[in-house]
């Protein structure tokens, strides 16, 4: 018999109390900070890195010939203290399909018009570049599609000699006309075609022309110290002219390349599948049977996929693995046996960006005062996997070394003198009583951790910052339009070269969001850009950096290392300092 009359006087209060307790637990857990890694101190990347054996290319690969004529002096290798060569002395194994994470659905099949990594990550394996960076040191330019090159004495003419026997994946032979056409399409896009390369990697290129069946001539409007590096970037791709000529429309909608992997299919919003190109012009490569790029937009899901082996490799930059996740992996003995976290120098700069065109920031004294007040040591501690730097990353050969910087005002540990000097500068500039400013910051880490630190640093000299959290794409739009007072700034460049890294300080440049302008910096930039001697370039670049440190248009907080995670079974390649250069997995192999 059912008793549906309510007689239990204890029951109802018990239910209420239990409900309140449960709700309280849920609220507290929602308000708790993100899960911290295990309390044991995490081993640093340097301590846990496999001691580097002498780098060696895989022995089974035929060596590709170096350029026959002396090119520009090879740039001195940057210190690689944080790099970990992977399987550099082991014999590669053939076979296996590698699973990689792609952060977004593919936005276009046309590499010339692509601007995002969701395209470059998969398709840089389908197209072979004219040149590439050495997979062992990540810096030296080595032959690829072009087997040799010569540079004219005045530095304005490059003649590339192509490797014989390269075929498109549809069986057609690669021609020099296609190479020239591709370069011209990128450098001087026809109407309706968007090519960021025109004012980026191929700026200064006048034209490319096919000289004969083997050689292509590229003419520049001025000599360039970085042109070879730019040509070695993954974004410089040769597309099939014979296909685009036959179709209507201005964008390529098929993927036919010359690279080590052939395009199989794009499962919309799910994955991109590539298979080994058995007719690749280097018979010994690639080692993998195929690669599948799984589209996983959510970063936490991507980390779960990495942990469980559903993917074995993450992508670059901000979408790879977070510092907290890296710590979690390295502090867990089981995980660290399976997964390797690599750190490598990146040119990415994080800093404070005042709008140099408006008060108070158009006064260099106020900018200098802000820089003096910034506690960079604390910023580096909070950021993790970061280093103090000036205007160029000290982990590249171009930046002033950390040891030198930390002795200077603004960068040193002791802040008393710096704060006193900053206050004096503020008073001289007419801001003895301080000033209120809005401080824009990117939602997430920047707003949660860096903005409060910067706010408290600036408050010490009377700059009272109101933090304004903003979504990333809205932020970049605001910067583009110059509609801000001050902001936390984080940006990178496609190339770890001053021609790419310093453009954001050039008068009128599209990326000069700080609206800085200095004729001397502009002049020195042009000079170093046209200098072929790399040591002379370095001298000029140093002068630029010193000038920027004096004028402080965009004081840096830190330079963050790139993190990348892969299963230890994935070997054969390493990442370099260029953002879009290490996605080619031609040398990768699976140790299973």
């Amino acid at each position: 018999m059912v008793n549906w009359r309510y007689q239990n006087v204890v029951g109802r209060p018990l239910v209420r109390l239990s409900s309140l307790l449960v709700a309280g637990v849920l609220v507290l857990s929602a308000c708790a900070p993100s899960a911290a890694p295990a309390p044991q101190p995490a081993p640093s990347a340097q301590q846990s890195a496999i001691p580097a054996p002498p780098p060696a290319t895989p022995t089974s690969a035929p060596s590709t010939p170096r350029p026959s004529a002396p090119a520009t002096p090879a740039p001195a290798s940057a210190p690689a203290a944080t790099r970990t060569p992977s399987g550099a002395t082991e014999q590669p194994k053939y076979g296996g399909v590698l699973a990689v994470r792609n952060p977004d659905p593919v936005s276009t099949f046309d590499m010339h018009q692509a601007t995002r990594i969701d395209v470059s990550i998969p398709f840089s394996n389908v197209y072979i570049g004219l040149l590439r960076k050495d997979p062992v040191d990540g810096e030296t330019v080595i032959p690829s599609m072009a087997k040799a090159w010569t540079i004219s004495p005045d530095g304005t003419e490059y003649i590339l000699t192509l490797q014989p026997g390269i075929k498109w994946h549809d069986g057609q032979a690669l021609t020099t006309e296609a190479v020239a056409w591709s370069l011209n399409r990128m450098a001087h896009p026809p109407k309706g075609v968007i090519s960021p390369r025109a004012s980026g990697l191929l700026v200064g290129m006048v034209q490319a022309e096919a000289l004969d069946a083997a050689r292509v001539r590229i003419t520049l409007d001025a000599p360039s110290g970085s042109f070879l590096d730019r040509l070695a970037n993954d974004w410089i791709t040769v597309l099939p002219k014979h296909i685009l000529d036959k179709k209507q429309g201005d964008a390529l909608d098929v993927v036919v390349g010359t690279g080590a992997f052939k395009f199989v299919r794009y499962n919309a919003n799910v994955s991109v599948e590539l298979t080994k190109n058995k007719e690749y012009f280097v018979p010994a490569r690639p080692y993998l049977d195929g690669i599948t790029f799984f589209i996983i937009p959510e970063d936490r899901t991507a980390f779960a996929a990495l942990r469980t082996g559903r993917v074995q490799l993450t992508t670059v930059a901000s979408r790879a693995i977070s510092a907290t996740e890296a710590e979690l992996v390295e502090s867990d003995p089981d995980l660290s046996k399976k997964i390797l976290v690599e750190r490598y120098a990146s040119p990415s700069k994080n800093g404070f960006m005042p709008n140099n065109e408006i008060a108070p920031w158009k006064d260099a004294r106020v900018r200098r005062a802000a820089s003096l007040a910034m506690n960079r040591q604390a910023a580096v501690t909070i950021a993790k996997d970061a280093v103090i730097g000036g205007y160029l990353s000290p982990r590249t050969k171009w930046g002033i070394p950390v040891e030198e910087l930390v002795k200077r005002p603004g960068f040193r540990q002791q802040k008393d003198q710096d704060i006193a000097e900053a206050k004096r500068l503020m008073a001289d500039a007419g801001y003895a009583n301080g000033i209120d400013i809005p401080l824009l910051c990117r939602l997430g880490f920047d707003c949660e951790q860096m903005a409060p630190l910067l706010g408290s640093d600036l408050a010490r000299i009377g700059i009272r910052a109101k933090i304004v959290p903003t979504a990333t794409n809205v932020l970049t739009e605001i910067f583009n339009k110059g509609q801000y007072n001050a902001a936390l700034y984080s940006a990178t460049a496609p190339l770890a070269d001053p021609d790419s890294l310093l453009t954001s300080y050039l008068t009128g440049d599209g990326r000069n969001w700080s609206r800085f302008s200095d004729a001397q910096v502009d002049a020195w930039f042009r000079e170093q850009s046209r200098t072929l001697d790399q040591s002379k370039r370095l001298e000029i670049v140093r002068k630029i950096e010193e000038r920027l440190l004096e004028l402080e248009p965009l004081p840096s907080l830190y330079f963050r290392d790139y993190l990348r995670a892969r299963w230890r079974t994935v070997k054969g390649f390493r990442s370099g300092p260029d953002l879009f250069q290490d996605e080619n997995l031609e040398y990768a192999w699976l140790d299973k």
Binding site: A304, A305, R307, N480
Partner: protein, 321 residues
Amino acid sequence: MFAYVIRRLVLFVPVLLGVSLIIFLVMRIVPGDAAYATLAGRGGEGIVTKEALATMRQRLGLNKPYPQQYLDWVWGMARLDFGTSLTTRVPVWQEVTQRLPITIELAVLTALIATAVAVPVGTFSALHQDTPLDYILRIVTIIGLAAPTFWIGTLTIMALVRYFDWIPPLGFSSVLDDPWTNFQQIIWPAVGLGYHHVAVIARMTRSSMLEVLRQEYVRTAWAKGLRQRMVINRHALRNAMMPVVTLIGVQFAVLLGGTVIMESIFSIPGMGRALIEGIQLRDYTVVQGCVVIFALLILIVNLLVDLLYAWLDPRIGYGTS
């Protein structure tokens, strides 16, 4: 009844127009330039130049006046042309036909799980009112009501990784091509999403059953000596289900919203994920198309629920005297 259905279908048009206008305006008001987002990507790492931005704006038709953009879009929808995605240049209709079946599969499975669990739980709870088991079930359902869906989804993934070192296979397999893989991929978000709906439906079932069990005809059924199963299933449950059916229909709208979160967490390429990605990238056409499709789905489900209501209760008639 036929006239009633026709009337309801005709009313779909002004409702959808209203929805389309609202979403059009909202997408234009929200900060962020679609052309910029298309070039720069979600993380802002893409390469954007002034020339590229100008060309992109023209290509996407963003330099046209807003009224013209709206009218072009609505006229296209009338011809079943929802436009093309601003980011992928794929027709929105193609995205919908690829993604909608996945979302419907998730939503239907969630509704089935929720109903299959909630009705017995609610009935059991009503029959054993104020017993310890009743309290336990009510606490569990309150947790389901209180816990946010994204929290349950994230916890599910974390638990699978932490305790089983496993997550569902990546990608998405159709139920027709590979049913087992499809099951592994869809069951977890369905259970996670279903938990919240179990809570809602179970509580309504319990309340409704308690009310029905107090009715005279149920007392009569007991007095006649009928078995409990007969009394509950034949006499009480059907009447108790009427408000529950209404609730399931209303909850379907909430459920569609929940799929948005679960599809992102479990990396399922459904309409919900398209909506999230579209919002992040300011892909106006995809967002507008998804919202209108969702609105249409909700209208259809509500109509079906109303018709089901009439079937359950013969006293209810639409358009009949």
